[in-house]
């Protein structure tokens, strides 16, 4: 077993090593988190007070659009793939990913896709008027069809799609073919399970997204009329196609976070995960349901009542497997012997706040009231509880959990806890009041508002600034840990179980070149 590998830029450009590629994914994702976060700061700064103070309305729309796209496709999804690259081979006892060269390619497409996505912002006329996409991350037709640099956006989405599809195929191949002897499917760590299901979702829906943007492309430049009402196309149909992708996409972002949290809680409760099998089934059930509920995003488009009823019933059904998951995590903690190191704090934060997001999700699923909530800040609050205190919290928890294994050093527990408490207080100050302004009647995606919404927006913005600043602390902690710190043991955590904790810390460049035996 040797640690020999090329150095310098060539190491990163040509690497086929799953750990290197995982690292690349994670740093890329962190960069995008900061870029998307900076945009969120612009949004919150403009909304701090009623009246337009900082940016033009179209620039604001561009900020909300780019913030959404960058966070979804640039920050959350690549971070999850980064975890999969680092952890899946180590957790199933494989020497590397099944298709290492494709792995390199699927990462290196990403920076170019991201570049293509943000490039139009700096092209054309006055930067301050917002030259980039400004039609919302959902890019509804016909508004998106009015955008004169649409092709950049479309090809960026194509590239992002290629990257995630290749990443997913690789993960599926790795999990199916590279498991150590004795590692049966039902013995796999839950993180591996959630990623397997996520990968299936990805290869099922990313091509649909690619199809949708391709139809937009031909509508705009090649004279077709799939969605263009002026030529007999159907803008509502665009929404159906989009959300057929979009709803599973939501679960693509959250399922791996479920997996991470399901690794962390048993470790720090020193007790096996409660209901392992039911967790697997619940994850599969959520994935299945995600395909048949899409139109709950469009109750107000004027569907037939029968359709609305169906989508309402199917949607609220998701609460069942989701509740099972929350109950299982709670039961895992029950009668454990818990300690509260930083990863555990983030994981518990995840369970609490994701549950709040789940409850508001149920409220939104009830169609008659959704007519009031739809397209208001209530929705914004809901999906940020699910994606920030859900998916992002899962990611941060995972970073603290595995960072000692990756770097061989312990992070600073004091700073980690400071990071958690700063983030958790500020994130609630940021997003909880958004429920209130939404219920009061503030639509989403507006740059300016009636003064009756002012107080809660000001509070929300203050929370936003603190939350944004706290993530700089995260960066500092990570860099400090990479540079040094207390040496980590091989097992790192007292209650940690699984193959990745049997290898040295830091994990050598090559691991499990001889497959371990799993009993």
């Amino acid at each position: 077993m040797s640690d020999h590998h090329p150095t310098g830029i060539k190491r990163w450009l040509f690497t086929t090593n799953h750990k290197d590629i995982g690292t690349l994914y994670l740093w890329f994702s962190f960069t995008m988190l900061l870029v998307g976060g900076a945009m969120a700061m612009v949004i919150r700064a403009e909304l701090y007070e009623p009246g337009m103070q900082l940016v033009e309305p179209n620039f604001f729309n561009m900020m909300t659009t780019m913030h959404g796209l960058i966070m979804v496709f640039g920050a959350i999804m690549p971070a999850m793939v980064g975890f999969a690259n680092w952890q899946v081979p180590m957790m199933i006892g494989a020497p590397d990913m099944a298709l290492p060269r494709m792995n390199n390619w699927s990462f290196w497409i990403l920076p170019f896709a991201a570049l293509m996505l943000v490039m139009p912002m700096f092209m054309g006329g006055d930067f301050m008027q917002g030259q980039g996409p400004a039609f919302g991350w959902t890019f509804y037709e016909p508004l998106s069809g009015q955008y004169n640099k649409l092709a950049f956006f479309i090809f960026a989405v194509h590239l992002l799609g290629f990257s995630s599809i290749m990443g997913s195929i690789n993960i599926i191949a790795t999990i199916f073919n590279m498991r150590a002897p004795g590692m049966t499917l039902m013995k796999m760590p839950l993180f591996v399970w959630t990623w397997l299901i996520t990968a299936f979702l990805l290869i099922a829906v990313m091509p649909v997204l690619a199809g949708a943007v391709t139809m937009m492309l031909t509508d705009k430049y090649f004279g077709t009329s799939f969605f263009d009402a002026a030529g007999g196309g159907d803008p509502v149909l665009f929404q159906h196609v989009f959300w057929f992708f979009g709803h599973p996409e939501v679960y693509i972002m959250i399922l791996p976070a479920f997996g991470i949290v399901s690794q962390i809680i048993p470790t720090f409760a020193r007790k096996p995960l409660f209901g392992y099998a039911s967790m697997v089934y619940a994850t599969a059930a959520i994935a299945f349901l995600s395909f048949i509920v899409w139109a709950h995003h469009m109750f107000t488009v004027g569907m037939p009542v029968a359709g609305e009823l169906y989508f309402m019933y199917a949607t609220v059904m998701i609460a069942v497997p989701t509740a099972v998951k929350v109950f299982n995590w709670t039961a895992t903690m029950w009668k454990g012997s818990m300690t509260f190191e930083t990863p555990m704090l983030w994981a518990i934060g995840f369970v609490f706040m994701f549950t709040i997001g789940g409850f508001t999700g149920l409220m939104l699923g009830v169609a008659p009231t959704d007519f009031q909530y739809h397209d208001t800040y209530f929705v914004v609050a809901h999906f940020h509880y699910v994606l920030v205190t859900g998916a992002l919290y899962g990611i941060i928890a995972g970073v603290y959990y595995w960072l000692p294994k990756w770097t061989g050093n312990m992070y600073s527990e004091g700073l980690g806890k400071l990071h958690f408490w700063l983030s958790t207080i500020s994130v609630n100050v940021l997003f909880f009041p958004q429920h209130f302004v939404g219920l009061e009647g503030m639509p989403r995606r507006i740059p300016d508002y009636n003064p009756m919404f002012a107080d809660w927006n000001a509070i929300s913005s203050l929370g936003g600034f603190v939350f944004g600043a706290s993530q700089i602390l995260f960066l500092v902690i990570i860099i400090m840990t990479i540079r040094g710190g207390k040496k980590a043991t091989d097992q790192v955590w007292e209650g940690a179980e699984g193959l990745e904790w049997t290898i040295p810390s830091p994990a050598p460049y090559h691991t499990f070149e001889t497959a371990p035996e799993v009993k």
Binding site: A173, F226, G231, G233, P304
Partner: protein, 218 residues
């Protein structure tokens, strides 16, 4: 010997990897196609579930007026109640067209045959090949409405400045549920030449096969 075993295992893994890549790629291609297939599938889906009407269809060539009319007439006239029919038009910003319904609304018994008329004028200096696209609300009522004769059945060619009165003769099946006392119909014209040579500056192509466009939306 162990070396050989190792090798066969590796070969096996590679074969398996190829299989996963192959199958996954097929899934990817199929789902890409499925994205496009969703367009026609929605119509089929709505038909099957009997919730037809949410999605507009160009009725040119796809509408069996005779069968629809026979179906709508077989329940006779229901003289015990009246329904209100409203006739709206929706503007298409892309066209320099004057388009209005001569009758805004009428009250009738379900099962009666009625005729209304629409007026259209090409205000531009180019000929237009127009196709009318219908919509109706409440959309669940669509299947009770039969068009006996309609300008939406065929393309309307209008020379510059030409104007036309166009009839719509229809019947509403008296099986129409009582919860739908008002039906609002709307028509909107699209120009089948519209996409051909819209604007070169913003990147549109100038020459486009118009007929293939029509096939796509059908």
């Amino acid at each position: 010997m162990p070396d050989k075993m190792q090798e066969t295992k590796q070969d096996k893994t590679e074969t398996n990897n190829k299989r996963v890549v192959g199958v996954s790629s097929l899934v990817v291609i199929a789902m890409f196609g499925f994205g496009f297939a969703l367009i026609p599938l929605y119509d089929v889906f709505c038909d099957v579930l009997g919730i037809n009407g949410s999605y507009q269809t160009i009725e040119d060539g796809t509408y069996d007026a005779k069968a629809e009319t026979e179906r709508a007439l077989k329940n006779g006239v229901d003289e015990s109640r009246t329904i209100t029919m409203q006739f709206l038009v929706t503007d298409n910003d892309a066209l320099d067209l004057e388009f209005k319904s001569r009758t805004k609304s009428l009250t009738m018994n379900p099962g009666q045959i009625k005729e209304v008329s629409y007026y259209v004028k090409n205000r531009s200096n180019k000929p237009m090949v127009l196709q009318a696209i219908p919509d109706i609300t409440p959309n669940m009522a669509k299947k009770y409405l039969a068009k006996i004769e309609c300008f939406c059945f065929k393309k309307q060619t209008l020379q510059p400045g030409e104007e036309k009165e166009m009839p719509l003769r229809f019947v509403v099946n008296s099986a129409l549920p009582e919860k739908f006392p008002v039906l609002t119909m709307t028509y909107r014209f699209i120009d089948l030449n519209y996409k051909a040579g819209v604007d070169t500056k913003s990147g549109y192509l100038q020459t486009v096969q118009v007929d293939s466009t029509l096939n796509d939306i059908n």
